[in-house]
Amino acid sequence: MAVSACVSCAAATPLNINEPRMTRRSTFKFRLYVADDTMNSAQATANLQALCKTHLPGRHEIEIVDVFKDPQRAILEGIRMTPTLLRLAPLPIRRIVGTLVDTQRVLETLGLVTNVL
């Protein structure tokens, strides 16, 4: 699997209630929890990478955590379902479960599109 550089992220940063004004220059940090190389996980990985390539070229970091290799992190983060995508930055943390097949919905949740009329 082609994976972007794994960057340590600020998971422990307290959640900011007031969503800061997103700047066009901010970097998106993602963490994707996957389960081995199951179909769902592979699809989610591919969908996320394609999405980043299109909408966030050069300003995204993706960390991939395999729950079977590191179950402790799955417990700590309360991951029940795989695949689960966390948007760690910009805050607040956003969580999406599933194969990320509905691109429009994913983009809306991640704040990458302004509400289209």
Partner: protein, 574 residues
């Protein structure tokens, strides 16, 4: 799977520790396998599953994990605090709660699987050496999956994971009771085919009274009680009612006797009731059933045996006051703690609930003697069929715990005069059956008592009159006159008539004796006179003889002298 697993002769079981359930299933849940727990809302799925884990951790040394999909673990713990499980005493190492509620604002696109949860659980199960696991309300999570095939896939994934870990698990799913029986209409019906054991919990209303039932639908590789078993959720959690199942030893029997509290009744029964027997006292209202059972309670307390008196009709203090009027004083025993009075009017619910409450109080009080007055009240609410089963289990339980049980049963006067208690059918199971009745005669109502049956003892066939006075309870012989039984004042009249007759006869006897004495004396006097006369006669006779002899001699001598004087003849000399 592995060959050695297939060749293992008997299915091993993990005891649930839930009263009655292990008996129904012959030892508990299938070890290392999955049990499906189905039931509607409020049917007790979560409580059952939680109790299974708690017993496992506390009693059987098997740590467990509770995965909560619906309620948060905090709420489950708060609800569990109402039971006397002392959950906070269980260390976290032994019992782990995992919150797995999908968050309400969860964004989901596309398919997903449960691998994340299973990976985490696998680590935690290994860390705490868990042997048991519960997935509570799995349907909540499954409902998020996009289609049926995805649900099926995840259930198989979960099942495979459980089997590979060797965890004995319970999965609870919501199902309405009627749906649970028609599996094809079930959203997760296929789960019932997949699991090794399936249990259905049912909560229904029968005649306005809550009734809970449990049924084991399937149990691979094991026999089980296939019938519906009523159960109650009490302070200690589940209590599944079981009728004596096969393989259980009969309660130990004894020849020891305990007094009925009435001396003459003991004699009639050949020494009293048997210890651990079930005594049934039937009768119409006001035939002194409570009094008879009160006498038993008083005697039991007098021996220092802890006694429980359950009254459905009136308050405990009322019973004590009323019994004091017939010389049965229970107040002092209540004070000393030997006796415990329970007003069962405070127990609401089905017959099953009442039985569970009575059992719990009896165990708490360590009762050796138990009075239930009247037991027929059990049948007043809820299903008649269930009440019948309760009667049977009541007797089974008291025998097994070696409690001497005296229960009264009210007969319905309107329903007829038949000497049966049709509602509970205790009469056939009771060891001793005493029947109290009214005999209306000569403008009076008197209480009659008879022993209809008493197993294993010779007993009197007589109807006796039961007399209540402020000095106590006694039995009186009754008179039979011309085929009629005499009781009350008629008996008293008969008794006094006999007393008068007795006196007359005695006087006559004495008079006769005096007369005879006089006659005897008279005769004796006469006898004396005659004897004296006899002596006189004898004397006279002797005198006469002597006179005659001397006269003869004189005459003889005189003639000789004359001859001499005449000189004619020579005197004759010898």
């Amino acid at each position: 799977m592995k060959l050695d697993h297939l060749s293992s002769p008997a299915l091993r079981k993990a005891p649930s520790g839930i009263t009655g359930f292990d008996e129904i299933t012959g030892g508990g849940l299938p070890r290392g396998r999955t049990t499906l727990l189905l039931g509607g809302p409020g049917s007790g799925k979560t409580i059952f599953a939680l109790q299974y884990l708690i017993n496992g951790a506390r009693v059987y040394g098997e740590p467990g994990i509770f995965v909560a999909f619906e309620e948060t673990s905090q709420r489950i713990l708060a609800n569990a605090a109402s039971f006397d499980w002392k959950l906070d005493q269980l260390r976290k190492k032994k019992l782990l709660f995992i919150d797995a509620q999908p968050s309400y604002d969860l964004v989901q696109t596309g398919d997903f699987d449960l691998c994340g949860m299973l990976a985490g659980l696998g680590l935690q199960a290994a860390q705490m050496k868990a042997r048991r696991i519960v997935f509570d309300a799995l349907d909540i999570l499954l409902a998020l999956l996009p289609d049926l095939s995805a649900r099926r896939r995840e259930i198989y994934r979960l099942h495979e994971w459980l089997v590979s870990r060797g965890l004995t698990s319970i999965v609870t799913l919501k199902a309405r009771a009627d749906e649970a029986n028609s599996i094809t209409q079930q959203p997760y019906g296929f789960m019932q085919f997949m699991v090794d054991c399936s249990v259905i919990l049912n909560h229904s209303l029968i005649a306005g009274v809550s009734q809970r039932d449990m049924r084991v639908q399937k149990y691979r590789g094991s026999s089980f009680d296939e019938n519906e078993s009523p159960f109650v959720i009490g302070d200690a959690g589940f209590d599944v009612a079981i009728v004596r199942t096969l393989g259980r030893d009969d309660a130990k029997v004894t020849n020891e006797r305990v007094t009925s509290g009435i001396k003459r009744l003991d004699t009639m029964l050949g020494g009293g009731y048997y210890r651990a027997a079930c005594v049934l006292i039937t009768g119409f209202p006001g035939t002194a059933k409570t009094t008879l059972s009160g006498a038993f309670a008083q005697a039991a307390c007098g021996r220092g045996e802890r006694t429980l008196f359950v009254s459905f009709d009136s308050d405990g203090t009322e019973v004590i006051r009323n019994l004091a009027s017939v010389g049965i004083r229970l107040g002092r025993y209540l004070k000393s703690g030997v006796l415990r009075m329970v007003s069962a009017r405070t127990i609401v619910g089905s017959a099953e609930t009442s039985l569970v409450r009575i059992k719990a109080i009896a165990a708490e009080h360590k009762a050796r003697c138990l009075v239930i007055d009247p037991v027929s009240a059990l049948a007043n609410s809820g299903s008649q069929l269930a009440a019948h089963g309760v009667g049977q289990r009541l007797i089974d339980w008291s025998k097994a715990d070696r409690i001497t049980l005296v229960c009264t049963s009210l007969l319905n006067e309107i329903a007829g005069k038949s000497e049966t208690d049709s509602t509970l059918h205790i009469s056939t199971l009771a060891d001793t059956w005493i029947h109290l009745s009214y005999v209306v005669q000569a403008g009076e109502r008197n209480r009659g008592m008879s022993i209809i049956k008493s197993r294993g003892t010779a007993h009197s066939n007589q109807v006796r009159e039961l007399i209540l006075s402020n000095s106590g309870v006694t039995l009186a012989d009754i008179f039979t006159a011309g085929g009629e039984v005499l009781m009350g004042t008629m008996r008293w009249q008969k008794e006094s008539a006999e007393r008068v007759e007795d006196e007359v006869a005695e006087v006559a006897g004495r008079l006769k004796l005096v007369t005879l004495d006089a006659e005897q004396a008279e005769l004796e006097v006469r006898l004396k006179a005659v004897q004296t006369e006899l002596v006189a006669k004898q004397v006279e006779k002797t005198l006469l003889a002597r006179t005659t002899a001397s006269r003869k001699a004189v005459i003889l001598h005189g003639s000789e002298r004359m001859r001499e004087l005449r000189g004619g003849d020579a005197p004759k000399h010898k």
